[in-house]
Symmetry: C2
Subunit: 487 residues, 2 copies
């Protein structure tokens, strides 16, 4: 396959050790999937293998402007982790990049080349209420397992009365499971992180995560079956006085390989039973009417409505009902929100809050920052507004003067309401003068929550969740009639 953009951090430069291990693929028809969670000894061997190498120090950018290149970051370290795992995973970076070329728009902004993180061009994202699959942001945590649909099985175990394996044919059998189709926005908690990075670059030795802009959000009509009905099919929850329903979680296993501090594992997260019960956890096999793209989790992924994207596990191959939240590192040691008093000197996994429901947020997508505009007394702004947890954005306001005077987006310039979907909006803001304008936006959701005003109000050590109202577009504007008088 011809890729026009070369993959940097190539395998050719990687100093393979003689002892490169061989980790067999677990199942026929499942390429790039190694089962780690069931084999502690295999995990141990993988960790020992990693320990033999010296990988580049994270992160790859610090205290200097983010390079104006695409990809922004290469992920050399993560590529090398996969190279080191031997023949089964060494091609993961190459395969991932192949699917970026094939399944995503050419002009994506590649925030991180591998694991692939990408967001679409700002202006196009809000042209449609449902995001084109090719433009939907991607935040992968490893490679892309290539699983044949016919070979696929979903394993359901843990605290269910009748553990079962289900094929895709079972899941698509409408006699077994009613089809559910729901419009859901998925948002990475890193959305707009770049604004936190700009204001708080840190001391230069923290781990700064991927520098997302406003495009780490997308909306699709996801089709599949409710996990609630699948668990019912498995005889329901195995509850007891010691295991009440209210404390149960569903642990979701992804077939990709994940690395954390020298350890090797599958991607594992969880969501509370409460979400499942309310039909808010979908096992999705279609995205906007098309089969799920491989880069988005083919053949099956979870979509956990209103939650941080990280819970919507891709290449979902196992669901285990457990007591309490998952103890897996992605759940317990990643995607933590620290209160503003906590920084690198006192941050501990245990004093971070595991992000689940997403707060109200919004963003201006056009005009772009520092875009020069010649106007006739008004400037059109476009953007999105979103809130998690089943709360729709009720209205949006914009300001052209940094937040003194706010205009409300007209009702008919906002897209339809959904419980779990964003709304895209546009407004023509009156502008009487020329000069620098500071555009900003804020939204209220149906619970009347609104966004805090300043980055300062929401800054947090891991730079998650950036829902502030102010901090947006500086636009040099020129009134057309003034321009003509000058000519």
């Amino acid at each position: 396959m011809a890729t026009e953009t070369p993959l940097s951090g190539s395998i050719a430069d990687f100093p393979f050790k003689d002892s490169a291990p061989f980790f067999a693929e677990e199942r026929k028809g499942w390429k790039g999937y190694v089962e780690w969670e069931k084999y502690p000894e295999k995990k141990k061997q993988a960790a020992e293998t990693l320990a033999q190498y010296k990988f580049p120090h994270p992160p790859e950018f610090q205290l200097e402007p983010i390079p104006q290149q695409n990809p922004l970051l290469e992920g050399v370290r993560w590529k090398q982790y996969h190279y080191a795992m031997g023949s089964t995973l060494k091609d993961a970076p190459e395969i991932s990049w192949k699917y970026v070329q094939k399944e995503k728009s050419e002009d994506m902004l590649h925030v991180l080349q591998f694991p692939y993180n990408g967001e679409p061009p700002r202006s196009r994202l809000v042209e449609t209420e449902l995001t084109n699959n090719k433009d939907h942001f991607v935040r992968n945590h490893g490679g892309i397992p290539e699983i044949e649909e016919d070979a696929f099985e979903l394993e359901l175990d843990g605290l269910v009365n009748e553990p079962k394996n289900l094929t895709m044919a079972d899941l698509k059998n409408e006699k077994l499971f009613p089809r559910q189709s729901t419009v859901v926005s998925i948002q990475c908690s890193g959305t707009r992180r770049i604004e936190q990075i700009h204001e708080y670059p840190g001391d230069g030795d923290e781990l700064i995560n991927a520098p997302w802009g406003e495009g780490a959000i997308g909306t699709a009509r996801w089709t599949g079956v409710s996990l609630a009905s699948v668990i019912k099919h498995c005889g329901g929850l195995k509850t007891s006085s010691g295991h009440p329903e209210t404390e149960m979680h569903v642990e979701l296993y992804g077939a990709d390989t994940y690395f954390k501090k020298g350890q090797v594992m599958n991607y594992v997260v969880s969501a509370p039973w409460r979400k499942v019960k309310f039909d808010e956890v979908l096992l999705a096999f279609e995205m906007n009417g098309d089969p799920l793209p491989r880069i988005h989790g083919f053949p099956l992924r979870a979509v956990v409505f209103g939650y941080i994207g990280a819970r919507s596990c891709k290449w979902l191959y196992r669901i285990k009902v457990i007591q309490g939240p998952s103890q897996a590192p992605v759940q317990k040691k990643e995607y933590l929100y620290y209160s503003p008093q906590i920084g690198k000197h006192n941050a501990m996994y245990s004093n971070g809050f595991s992000i689940q429901d997403m707060p109200v947020s919004s963003a201006i997508m056009t005009p772009l920052d520092k875009e020069q505009i010649i106007h006739d007394g008004k400037i059109t702004l476009r953007g999105w507004a979103y809130s998690g947890g089943g709360r729709w954005p009720e209205w949006v306001e914009v300001s052209a003067d940094g937040g003194s005077v706010w205009y409300k987006v007209p009702h008919d310039r906002m897209s339809k309401k959904y419980f779990y979907g964003w709304r895209v909006w546009s407004i023509d803001v009156p502008v009487e003068y020329e000069g620098w304008l500071e555009f900003c936006c804020r939204t209220w959701d149906c619970a009347l929550n609104t966004q805090p005003t300043f980055v300062r109000s929401a800054w947090n050590f891991d730079l998650h969740v950036t829902p502030l109202a102010i901090a947006s577009r500086f636009t040099p504007s020129i009134a057309r009639d003034l321009l003509q008088r000058r000519d």
Copy 2:
């Protein structure tokens, strides 16, 4: 009946017309209840009666400091509405006041004498996680119907397959309905309205609603039965292609009489079916283990979890399943949230948003505003934090300098988490100097929503929902050692 505090706006001064009507009580054992909703001709007659009188102009305070008296406001106009309705309702103000004396603490702040609106003393409210029934705030909209439990029937009709009447014995029959007991905070959307009034007194001719402080919130363990199971008992919803489940609401009827712009009606509101389905609408007959006090809705009230208090209909005697939200005035013309661009010149019922889910909010309860404190290097603050819609407050921060430096309330100084309940908290804030301190607090809920910073960010025409972080306690503090050196 001995009441120590006299009831002002007495019936003795009311110029009864000869034509004072007689509206019969509907049912034996139901005192002070007139059924309006089933009898349009009776409503018409009542409206004609009201039209004969000239009532005092609302509101009763404007553009001047709220009087330092208790009750703050008398509600003379509302008393007179009831007097005008003739023998059946004329004693409603007197009866209401009787129950205030009997069922509420002596030192309640009576925000409005009739319909009774009252909040407890600030410091006591946060001494306990569950509010004592005598201290729980009250926001009534009319009189207090005196209904004998044995004579009570709840009517279930509308879009259910088997409309039924249920007695209290039916509802308490655990063979018919499993008992549900849930800790729920109920909050009036007027909480902290006084802060909006202070900053935006208006032009002097708007209707300014009751000037609530921080005490229009209370928490109880409510016991009763889930409305979901009651509707199941009535054969479930009568759905059809034209009436999908997703669009249904439950309309809740209160036996109190409500007045709106010269019209007379019962208190009627609604909540979406979605809330019922998730077991978030309770028909409650116990409050903290005691029978519901009359002032809180005896023998039966709704408790709609996480919503504005106005939906938790008291003296609930009828539930009608309908398509879409209730068209009744309390639902459509009251408790509207207007965006900040809307004021008295452009406010219309149709451009307000009907408040349901409550946003994240918090308040400092002690020290009191302008309370002088002699400290030894720290000052203890106490308060509450709450968020609606099933979201618990995750943490609270306080500042002693108007929001520059924030301290996080220690984990062990916050009360237990509940999906639908507040958390009370306390913290010892380090204070090194003497002089005026500006204390403020803010909270994050589990969806990481936080409060907007300034009153200006949340001001709205009807002065509902005041969730701002800054705007709290100015406290003159004196360091003890400085004081000693002066002596």
